[in-house]
Symmetry: none
Subunit: 214 residues, 2 copies
DNA sequence: GGTCGGCTCAGGGTTGGCCCTGAGCGGCAT
DNA sequence: ATGCCGCTCAGGGCCAACCCTGAGCCGACC
């Protein structure tokens, strides 16, 4: 057991942490604990564990906040959500944030140890019921967004053309809509694709929808 | 080994089936095989296996078609997709249809046996790389739906072409992907647009996304 | 056996997307 | 004033998208 999996526990209840530690401590190397978001990010970024056992509900934020914080710190690790909650939205939220697994605290300790090992090796793991949630959740989701970095590469006119292009307008329609010539539209379109390093309007449509620009 | 997991193999290559059977036969109970969609549905609905090992690409349809067929027959079982493909869309498609796992044929036999056991117990299982696909897909997907009204206007092949078209594949890519000529793709594409009374692929993309077909 | 529908392919055509080059015009800054 | 930049346009070229027609193969149905 020389190279055990290094684990950090994040849970706001000390009782839970010590319980988990005593259940899995013989099989993994618990290198740190935390009871809130700030502390979790700090411990994780200093200890650099293989796996983080992460409670979904925390003071000062929640599970996703921890994951985001660690990501922003440039640290790569695997998160396994460990929660009393089996509410679909908690599961989805933490998976979206980047957790690679989700088990409830009802899990047997041997199973938890196995789950940690699997997550550490890059696998995904879910409690049976939760697997259903996650997979079924492919039945209806729309996510995130933020600001626009490379959008500034485009001039005002180019952005205007870009939006209409992404929306599926033909060059001719677009030209009459902006009351410019088709040739001008082509020029702008070409510039847009070049600046965004895209090769055709389908990619542009995906690019724009990903960024909620249309 | 009295109550082994009962498994049905679905793959269009006899060689693959016998190979898999010899690799896992000592650990699970292979109660049936099939090499196309129809046969698969029949074997599964009569044998009622615990787990179906399902190839994604089949004559007469594909993996999702088998899952749908079995569901419509009112039979509950667990599907584990076993494919050479690790294309994200294949993974997503079969997961959407209801598969509880997806592994590639590069898997070691011991791992496959373990995967079958986990799926049988209701767990979800993915090859490490594919776990990434599935979970990352939460970062930008729009899925499923219910039934299809005018979708029945399209033949099976046309639906296949339609999905890829709507997804933005060029005719040439689509042709090599389906291993048919570009001319055949054109013919199908033309039929699709005519039958759906659409005039180009942008409208098709919108049509398909509205109906959550892609 | 004949018919019909689905899948496959071909020839030959028009239109549109996309690129490159080149160029005139107006604002704005060094 | 000279030059950069954004907006406008044109010519000319390539290729992909889309259409129509026609045709061979095969399995299903009558």
């Amino acid at each position: 057991m020389t190279d055990q999996v290094r684990v950090v526990l994040v849970d706001d209840h000390a009782l839970v942490r010590s319980g988990v530690r005593s259940e899995i401590g013989h099989a993994v190397d618990v290198v740190g604990e935390a009871d809130d978001v700030e502390g979790a990010v700090e411990v994780i970024t200093t200890q650099l564990p293989d796996v983080v056992l992460l409670d979904v509900h925390l003071p000062g934020g929640n599970g996703p906040a921890v994951i985001d914080g660690v990501r922003k710190a440039g640290v790569e690790t695997c998160f396994l959500a460990l929660s009393v909650s089996d509410a679909a939205e908690d599961v989805i939220a933490v998976i979206r944030a980047g957790a690679r697994g989700y088990v409830t605290k009802a899990i047997a300790s041997a199973d938890l140890i196995a789950a940690i090992g699997r997550v550490a090796s890059g696998d995904a793991v879910f409690s049976p019921r939760l697997a259903g949630f996650v997979l079924d959740a492919f039945a209806g989701e729309i996510p995130t967004s933020d600001v626009d970095p490379e959008l500034d590469l485009l001039t005002a006119r180019e952005q205007e053309v870009m939006r209409l292009l992404a929306r599926g307008y033909a060059y001719k329609e677009l030209a009459s809509r902006l009351t410019i010539s088709v040739k001008t539209v082509e020029t702008h379109a070409s510039s847009v694709l070049r600046k965004l390093q895209l090769s055709n309007r389908h990619q542009l449509t995906r690019w724009a929808t990903d960024r909620r620009l249309i």
